[in-house]
Amino acid sequence: MGLPLNAVLAQAMLGLNQGAFYALLSLGLAVIFGLLNIINFAHGAFYMLGAFVALIGLTQFGGWIGEPELQINFWAALVLAPLIVGLLGVLIERTMLQRLYKFDHLYGLLLTFGVALVLQGYFTNYYNVNGTPYPGIPASLKGIVNLGFMYFPKYRLFAIAASLVVCFLTWYVIERTKIGAYLRAGTENPNLVQAFGINVPLMITLTYGFGVALAALAGVLAAPIYSVGPLMGANVIITVFAVVVIGGMGSIMGSIVTGLALGMIEGITKVVYPPAANTVIFFVMVIVLLVRPAGLFGREQ
């Protein structure tokens, strides 16, 4: 192609940035699917909600409670938004999803899709569909750094690092610790695990809440980069589903690695043939499904 090395590195860097978000989002989906067998279509809406909690906390919440000076800053939002949205997830699991486990996957999918539409509709009613910028980047993360081959915003470096740390922590907890072992065992044979005195329904509820919290965390991290808008989740969720399918439904490591790799592939496509940037992931999906129907890291069932 004769592309200069610097340009390729720069695009790879941007791809990594995009990939980190894909990884974080598809990780949540993979956790929920792998452990609960729920196809969580509301994942994009929870991502959007996370971003809105950060935005509202910064610009509106103080006014609502009569303390206009009060601002919930970025760092606080990074903790609070996943908590709040995670709690909402727990509520949804307890009141609605729980009733659907004994039915086909489709019912869970339809329910979560409905939840997504309701949330999107609600925010569309009150906020600019084109998005509102999140003005609260912490001073320490403002500005750009010279990476040698390109100037890169500090904040994006932080977002990449934060996503990767969270991804690998999650992988470690689920695949390498005792809690993770309980979780995995609980999904294989809930009755047996319950017989050992472990509260499986509670564990499942918390897992759903955790998966949702991951989406919200991605939302907070995305807020300063993209505009915070009601459709931000709907735009990204289809791609993230493709990532999960390519990685192998339910595979934790698969979703992290594929997320990062596909972000890079998309990044390179943006230089080589821009009009295909939106579709390249789906081409990859088609090829992967033809060759390995269970996905790159999936197990045949």
């Binding site: 941007l14 509709g121 569309t124 505009s227 943006k270 821009p274 579709t279």
Partner: protein, 407 residues
């Protein structure tokens, strides 16, 4: 007997020939119905959407609520940015609800489809939302009016001002569909005609959320101006991310080819300051625009975009034409619209045979946070009108155009 038959036939023929105009005079089915076909929930809903419906209702109210003694009714629907959905709604409106005029119709693909369908059914469309010049060229129709702006007029002001201001080399980031392509082509023509050059282009899919990759390519091209041939959320994200990567700070200029007031509001003055673009309406331009802006704000809580103002003006002028023609018959009203002066917030336009409403456009510049008075206009003191572009300079002439109806 034979004679009687003959005179009967004559009478019948006479009756028929008389019946036509008699039916045509006055208001068909006792009500004038105007349909606002817009995007209610998608990427362009902040530009038109519910605000357009409010604007149309305000026009009816300001006109007096009735025309020729008959009531006026506004109905609205969401076309979801899809030409097939828009056409289905338009067909239902015309066939079942007897809608007399359809307006707004954001999105060029929907605009072209609906204009064609409506004209086949002898119904006037007054398109304020779509930009493609095709509406009054190869896809022009007898009853289709392109009211507010087009992709020819937009770059005339913006590109001319920027090239004259020293921005000789350009790089395009273009929305990869009909509207973006036509906007880029027209802008490039203006740039080249003034001695500028186009260094490169990249076609970004509609709805791209991360433009950083394209911006980095534009940056490394070394072009003085990075032009955005896109709209709505695409424009907002691109400008925001250009700011994030310090592109403007490092000396390149950003040019938005189609920017709406709500985009500026959404970006905030810190990021958008200094951005120049072309518009046909800004609320704080003159007394007439301020009057409408304030009234709209009181009803809707936001200042109107140029599209919403366009819907208001289109409905108002349509009703004036109905009144002057004494009927809502599409042929008579279209003829009247072609004759009358089109009042656009104190400006005067005229509608040509190809359906184009030729009126003045304005080059505006986004104020810096210092220049903006937060107390003025409820926080919407965002733009500075820099220059008026006269209608005949802004728009393609009939001779340049390719509409068969105008030849």
């Amino acid at each position: 007997m034979k004679k009687l038959t003959r005179s009967l036939v004559c009478a019948a023929a006479l009756g028929l020939s008389v019946a036509g105009p008699v039916n045509a005079a006055g208001i068909s089915d006792g009500v004038v119905k105007i349909g606002v076909l817009t995007d209610m929930s998608g990427v362009y809903s902040a530009i038109g959407g519910k605000g357009s419906v409010v604007a149309a209702e305000m026009a009816v109210h300001d006109f007096g609520g009735t025309v020729l003694g008959k009531p006026i009714k506004i109905i609205a629907a969401d076309h979801q940015e899809k030409a097939d959905v828009g056409s289905a709604v338009a067909r239902e409106w015309i066939d079942r609800d007897h809608v007399d005029m359809i307006t707004d119709i954001l999105n060029s693909a929907v605009g072209i489809a609906v204009q064609k369908l409506a004209s086949e059914k002898h119904t006037i469309t007054m398109n304020t939302g779509a930009g493609s010049t095709a509406l009054t060229n190869k896809d022009c129709t007898k009853y289709g009016i392109h009211y507010l702006y087009d992709t020819y007029a937009l770059p005339v002001g913006t590109a001319t001002a920027m090239v004259k201001g020293g921005g000789k080399s350009w790089y395009f980031i273009t929305a990869d569909y009909a509207f973006g392509h036509s906007l880029q082509d027209n802008t490039a023509k203006v740039v080249k005609s003034l001695g500028g050059e186009v260094k490169g282009e990249v076609q970004a899919p509609l709805g791209t959320t991360d433009f950083s990759s394209y911006l980095i390519q534009a940056q490394s091209s070394g072009a003085q101006v990075i032009a955005l041939a896109n709209a709505g959320a695409d424009t907002i994200n691109a400008i925001k991310q250009a700011n994030e990567f310090g592109i403007v700070a490092q000396g390149q200029k950003m040019a938005g080819m189609l920017v709406f007031l709500t985009d500026v509001k959404s970006l905030g003055l810190n990021i958008a300051k200094g951005l120049q673009f072309t518009t046909s309406y800004y609320w704080d331009r003159n007394d007439a625009s301020r009057k409408f802006g304030d009234a709209f704000y009181a009803k809707f809580g936001k200042m109107p975009t140029m599209d919403q103002a366009g819907v208001y003006s289109a409905v108002l002028n349509y009703l004036r034409a109905v009144k002057a023609a004494g009927t809502d018959n599409a042929d008579a009203v279209r003829a009247e619209l072609g004759k009358m002066k089109i009042d656009f917030f104190g400006d005067t336009g005229h509608i040509r045979a190809d359906g184009l409403n030729v009126h003045d456009m304005y080059l505006v510049k986004v104020k810096s946070p210092k220049e903006s008075n937060p107390k003025h206009g409820h926080g919407w003191d965002l733009l500075q009108v820099e220059q008026t572009i006269p209608g005949d300079k802004a728009y393609m002439t009939l001779a340049q155009g390719s509409c068969p109806l105008a030849k």
